[in-house]
């Protein structure tokens, strides 16, 4: 009897050890991947997925730098953060041969400035950051950043801006027509003055509340991500998403292979899974952004397919990524942001 129990225990241990190899640790944004898709991956591959979440690119970077590197296999940084993480040596590389789905990547997203040739990352979702306006409150033309930075009387005191240095300063620079990374004293002073003046007509700074304040009517206009604006509209807010003529921020979230990944092979399987059009479309249907994978159209829901937030008008201006400044220049922008919020 005793021997039988021992054997059973030993077998159980072996089973557990064999099982333990089939895991994957994902470090991901909150509410950015439907649970059904995770379950589907586990059903197809037998790999058990653990997901930890973060709420900003910077929080994720801080946590990896503080010692979490080596615990996660993949993370989902935004464009500029991919470049920063590569510069910090936090990313592993792969070859296209290791990913059968590599060919599914939309060609316009293969040779991206933040990871030329896609050596460490694959596209997840992309979208834009501009602003949405309550059409019951303001009826004029909305396609200018002036609505946020030099607002008409109807919107003054009713504007929410994202509590995010990168987006506010990038959009402000586009409004003034100056580069995103400049050392020029006069340009920086002009940016500072413009923002301080604009702040007088802003009601609040908030990123995770950006959608709610538009739905509740606390804000009549607000800087917002396009998918978030689509959700606000779906929840009944009479808002329209703007494509400002001065430009707007384009961003792309990417699945990266982390350095010292404990389950590198499984990480590649996961990335390949996300490159399959049906799976990429499932994320898009959930998050209301746009996939970076070709062939997703047949799997998209009608609401997402026709949403004005992801289908810019033909004459819309081009958006740009947030630029990554060098250390000396970044210091100046940090000072501008601190000065704006002091």
């Amino acid at each position: 009897m005793n021997r039988l129990m021992l054997t059973t225990a030993a077998l159980a241990l072996i089973g557990a050890a064999a099982h333990a190899e089939e895991t994957l640790s994902v470090y991901h944004w909150f509410e950015y991947m439907p649970q059904e898709l995770v379950d589907k991956f586990t059903a197809e591959t037998g790999i058990k997925v653990t997901i930890d979440t973060y709420d900003s690119n910077e929080a994720m970077l801080a946590s990896l730098k503080a010692g979490k590197l080596g615990q996660y296999d993949v993370a989902v940084p935004g464009d500029y953060m991919v470049q920063i993480m590569a510069g910090e040596g936090l990313l592993d590389t792969f070859t296209p041969e290791e990913l059968p789905g590599y060919a599914n990547i939309d060609p316009q997203w293969v040779d991206v400035p933040f990871d030329p040739g896609r050596k460490s990352s694959i596209p997840y979702q992309w979208g834009s950051t501009a602003f949405a306006v309550n059409r019951d409150v303001f009826k004029g033309d909305i396609n200018s950043l002036g609505l946020i930075f030099d607002p008409p009387p109807e919107l003054q005191g009713k504007i929410n801006v994202l509590d995010s240095q990168g987006e506010v300063l990038a959009l402000g620079s586009m409004y003034l027509g100056i580069p995103q990374c400049t050392n020029d004293k006069e340009q920086l002073k002009a940016l500072m003055e413009m923002l301080l003046k604009a702040k007088a007509s802003w009601a609040s700074f908030g990123s995770d509340t950006a959608k709610d304040v538009l739905v509740s009517g606390d804000a009549a206009a607000g800087m917002i991500y396009n998918g978030f604006a689509a959700k606000a509209r779906a929840e009944g807010a009479p808002v329209e998403y703007a494509y400002p003529k001065e430009g707007y921020v384009v961003w792309m979230d990417n699945v990266v292979l982390l350095k010292d990944a404990p389950n590198r092979a499984n990480a590649l399987k996961f990335m390949d899974f996300l490159l399959q059009p049906e799976n990429a479309a499932a994320v898009t249907n959930y998050a209301a952004y746009t996939s970076g994978v070709m062939g997703v159209e047949p799997f998209l829901s009608d609401a997402v397919k026709s949403s004005p937030e992801t289908n810019p008008p033909a004459d819309a201006a081009k958006g740009s990524f947030i630029a990554v400044c060098d250390e000396e220049t970044q210091k100046l922008y940090d000072a501008v942001w601190t000065n704006l919020k002091k």
């Binding site: 801080a62 730098k65 609040s204 509740s216 100046l332 000065n339």
Partner: protein, 306 residues
């Protein structure tokens, strides 16, 4: 059955020898969860900032320099006193003081009311005070946001009874922040004052009345000095957490200006990524709090001696 002889309490001597091992868990708690993190923070505040978060192990006073000295946007001007962060501290202190005053104003009569109820019903009143605190602070703060918004129930009610004709702008103002802090920390004011008032013997009030003291004089000369420790404890318990709060300022005040809490958060979790500076701000905040506590403790001892 234990005889009368065996029924004696252990004297101080009987702990000798096992006292140290018995105290070890306490020391370990204090060491690991209190001293070590504070020490880590102190060390980090004197290290060199690494670009985009992290530290280099090289001694530097840059964090404290940044806090106190202003060298201009481009770092090429002669250093003058930096007002940016002093302003942030002053704002937080003012908000915390306002919230504490509000809590005292409402908390003292409340505590007095509860303590003067019959002993049988006091428990119910105390229970009612604590009920809202079973709900998470974040949820309570967000709910308050819904109540005080421009088209919210508060404004609807006030306009309904004709008290105001235009909705009050409360959300995204300093008033909203103080209201939020007040709501968050009110029991910390009520409970210590209640404990002090409950011990107060009303025979003193009767004696004062016999000696022709009116109610105001009785309150000032008899009641307040006796329940003062409860008031001081309540004020400290409300003031200190309010000082570092960032939920109420962010959700109710609109986050337009840094408070101490959000300034520190921004150094670690957001784009500013300056760990030594975040640690230095925390150290300065802690020093200020310790000074307040120290002054209070000194005053309390002096009063006992008197």
């Amino acid at each position: 059955m234990a005889g009368p002889g065996s029924n004696h309490a252990p004297g101080p001597g009987s702990w000798r020898g096992i006292l140290v091992p018995l105290l070890l868990p306490t020391w370990a708690m204090i060491g690991i969860f209190l001293l070590l993190p504070v020490l880590l923070m102190a060390v980090y505040s004197f290290l060199t900032k690494e670009f985009r978060g992290g530290v280099e192990w090289e001694f530097s006073l840059a964090a404290y320099d940044q806090f106190f000295l202003n060298r201009g946007l481009f770092g090429d001007e002669p250093p003058t006193l930096e007002w940016t962060y002093i302003t942030v501290f002053a704002r937080s202190i003012a908000q915390a003081a306002g919230a504490t005053a509000l809590c005292l104003l409402i908390g003292f009569p409340t505590a007095w009311f509860i303590a003067t109820r019959p002993a049988s019903s006091r428990g119910i009143w105390l229970f009612l005070i604590t009920v809202p605190y079973w709900v998470n602070l974040l949820i309570r703060t967000v709910s308050l946001r819904f109540l005080i918004r421009e088209n919210g129930p508060l404004n609807d009610a006030l306009m309904g009874v004709g008290l105001i004709s235009e909705p009050l702008q409360i959300i995204n103002t300093n008033m909203a922040v103080q209201l939020g802090l007040f709501y968050s920390y009110l029991p910390f004011m009520v409970l210590p004052i209640y404990a002090a008032v409950e011990r107060y013997s009303f025979a003193y009030s009767e004696a004062a009345a016999d000696l022709y003291a009116n109610r105001w004089v009785t309150l000032r000369e008899i009641v307040l000095p006796i329940v003062r420790p409860g008031i001081v404890a309540g004020c400290i318990l409300v003031f200190i957490p309010s000082l570092g709060a960032f939920l109420a300022p962010n959700l109710l005040g609109g986050a337009k200006n840094f408070m101490i809490g959000s300034l520190i958060e921004e150094q670690f979790k957001k784009s500013l990524g300056n760990w030594p500076f975040g640690a230095a701000v925390s150290m300065i905040l802690m020093t200020l709090v310790l000074i307040v506590l120290f002054v209070q403790a000194r005053a309390a001892t002096r009063q006992e001696v008197r």
